[in-house]
Amino acid sequence: MTRPGRVRAVLAYFGGPATWRTALVPRATGAARSRSHPWRRHSTVVRMDEGTSRRAVLAGGLSIGVGAAVAPAGAVAGAPAAAKESLLTLVVNGRREKLRVDVRTSLLDTLRDRLALTGTKKGCDQGACGACTVLLDGRRVLSCLTLAVMHEGSEVTTVEGLAEGDRLHPVQRAFVDHDGFQCGFCTSGQIVSAVGLLAERPGVTAAEIPELMSGNLCRCAAYSNIRDAIEAAARMSREGE
């Protein structure tokens, strides 16, 4: 999995038809601007060696992505200033976490790389896909579009924090019952977003769900099952009260 393909796919979703973004590319090279195209800059082939786990590849791919986006970018401009750090306390899934973070680190990278909570996914890393949705002080937000350092003392709930032991959260249960996914990459974001939605609007109707879930893209297009799952979870929670 290379970053360019991923970025381009998501941009195609976000910025309009794929032709819009891809149409720019030949002109970029044609214009012969001195710097290379960012998609190419980030292009790194991750080879699957024997015995390499999928998780290791994904983590490796990720750090390559992060590295390309952060460290070498600084290096390009000459000697980068020393990274500034900050002490941070977050309450993540009910657990108090104290850590020292680079001020530039997104909440998403902090959760995944520092706290090993890899349930929250990095899809586009630019606010287009919703895979990184978490609850921040109870409200659903995109963890890729905010810096960890901005949330001193905040409570964060990730998909790992929803179940109680082996008992799935009603929204998780409903996604299983209604087959609300296919490949599963967007699922943690979908589920956390749905939990946030039900908190915002417990009486949500089936007709309102697509618009209120519009920030979560599903490339497998499991949308109708996702809508059914959320509708069922809403009904269950209303009847449970």
């Binding site: 910025g15 720019l24 710097r35 960012p38 001020v103 946030g196």
Partner: protein, 325 residues
Amino acid sequence: MDTFEYRRPGTVREALRLVAGHPDAEIIAGGTDLVTLLRDRLRTPARLVDINGLPLDGLRWSRDGVRIGALCRNAVDDPRLAAAYPVLVEALRAGASPQIRNRATFGGNLLQGVRCPYFRLPEFACNRREPGAGCAAVDGDGRLLAIFGTSAACIAVHPSDCAVALLALDATVVVEGVRGTRRIPVGDLHRLPGATPHEEHTLRDGELVVAVEVPASPFAARSTYVKFRERASYAFALASAGVAVHSERGVVRDARVCLGGVAPKPWRARAAESALRGRRLDEATIEAAADAATEGARPRPDNTYKVDLVRGVVRRALTELRRET
């Protein structure tokens, strides 16, 4: 992303001190736009001033209207706001996904960067990003770009829906600086690109948007927002209209017709407003106003369709308002 000094002031005064005289300081509120600009190194502040600790959220109602704190989130859910200013609430809902609206603020929404892809991708020339560098969009793909208010130096579109609604409501931006408070009509906040597209707004050095004031007005309650985009939700406008109409005994006394997605700033279609004033809001008047809304359009070969879309959004908005009576 380059590193920066992170500061989180607790008072407006402290925030102003941190930015005044520091052109390399950047203010962050919701961060939904700025974080991507930092990540792509389109903005490289030496100091990042996080204003989320300032007491600038919430709504304050008075007889004169409502004062919306600059840090009020775009997810604001207030039945009174929806009843008094439908166009604003509809524009906010159309503006972004719930996750983004939970973070994005009123102040940040007004001051967000343009979404011109040539501005967002540093390997293309962009006068807005780098004064004097040239504009790759002028000879590039301009399908999504502006048809009003452009210049040879820039044809980008201002992406905000909220600002279009605020313009239709005659809102004012309240700004604080080290030298005191001043008020800027929303229509005067953004500059047209002219020869200096990098000068995006009329804020002075070190000034901070602290609130938006929306006056009570006779046409606010009868207003609506119509947005055309490439998919049903969660996309920027190809063309949008924030429209408000005040009628007495079936005759339009005053109206606002404001356009989004077609100009470098929220665009007021005054000719359309004139076409409405003094007339009954019937089909012929709506058609005339929709046509008048396109007055002054200078489309490029690849975005002439936007002229038709402008007609379409204005026609639809006015038709909706006509049904409401």
